[in-house]
Symmetry: C2
Subunit: 138 residues, 2 copies
Amino acid sequence: MSDLLERLRGRGWRMTAQRRVVAEVLDGEHVHMTADEVHARAVTKLPEISRATVYNTLGELVTLGEVIEVTTDRRAKRYDPNAHRPHHHLVCARCGAIRDVHPTGNPLADLPDAERFGFTVSDVEVTYRGLCPDCAGI
Amino acid sequence: MSDLLERLRGRGWRMTAQRRVVAEVLDGEHVHMTADEVHARAVTKLPEISRATVYNTLGELVTLGEVIEVTTDRRAKRYDPNAHRPHHHLVCARCGAIRDVHPTGNPLADLPDAERFGFTVSDVEVTYRGLCPDCAGI
DNA sequence: TCCTACGTTGGACTTTGTCTAAGTCAAATG
DNA sequence: CATTTGACTTAGACAAAGTCCAACGTAGGA
Ligand SMILES: [Mn+2]
Ligand SMILES: [Mn+2]
Ligand SMILES: [Zn+2]
Ligand SMILES: [Zn+2]
């Protein structure tokens, strides 16, 4: 994530305080923030940053392949800076906690030709659902 | 789907023209309509039916286990009357076409204990993405 | 037939995200 | 450095999907 700013520059993108702050906020393990959460944290470092710019920058990071959009529920999209290692997600149905998981096996191989209906299948998302330790105890 | 009305009655639910119409609309193969699409079709049979009632009834059918909510994108939820046979979905990234698919293998078995982080995992959704024959040709 | 609790309705409201016009500024240029 | 310019940022209007509510209507039991 730290050389992200270089890559952006390499693409001829202008470096701004806003983009730097959004990139800084998106860092860590099992980070899956909504756009508004990113904005809330960005504001603590750069009070004037607007919601629109956060949306714009997140969209650019997704296009760049530095961040992945994750949709685990019908609420807000989540932005996942762990774009380097392919993984799937385990979601608590009650509190919404999200963990990265790395299942064995290849789900793409599990889809026979007869079940592809002529589609060119390029990607697969797997979402495991259940209750986290905290929520299961209640 | 035809005995749905019986089951509803068995649960002590009042039978109304609105609920009957929503149940009728939700029938067929590879049907994955949004709430507004269900409403649009329901209106042709019962012009006075309101959006709120469609949402209410769909929610009730989901609770009853007669219909499954499918979220393939961050647009509208889709309602799937094929709740009887477990299946997953294949989605065209361009036009949004949805097909039911039945992959081999069990993704739940592919998630080792060490990757469960103490969660009680109860369900898994798999979404295959790609291009349908029409969209791949363009 | 009458009652009433449950179902329905329209509209206001919320959440999430997009769009735009006007202002600002990074960085190329000399 | 100072200038210049088009890409970037901003506030706020707008849109789509869904929820909520108070008033009204009716299914089905007494
Ligand atoms: Mn992740
Ligand atoms: Mn389906
Ligand atoms: Zn939880
Ligand atoms: Zn298509």
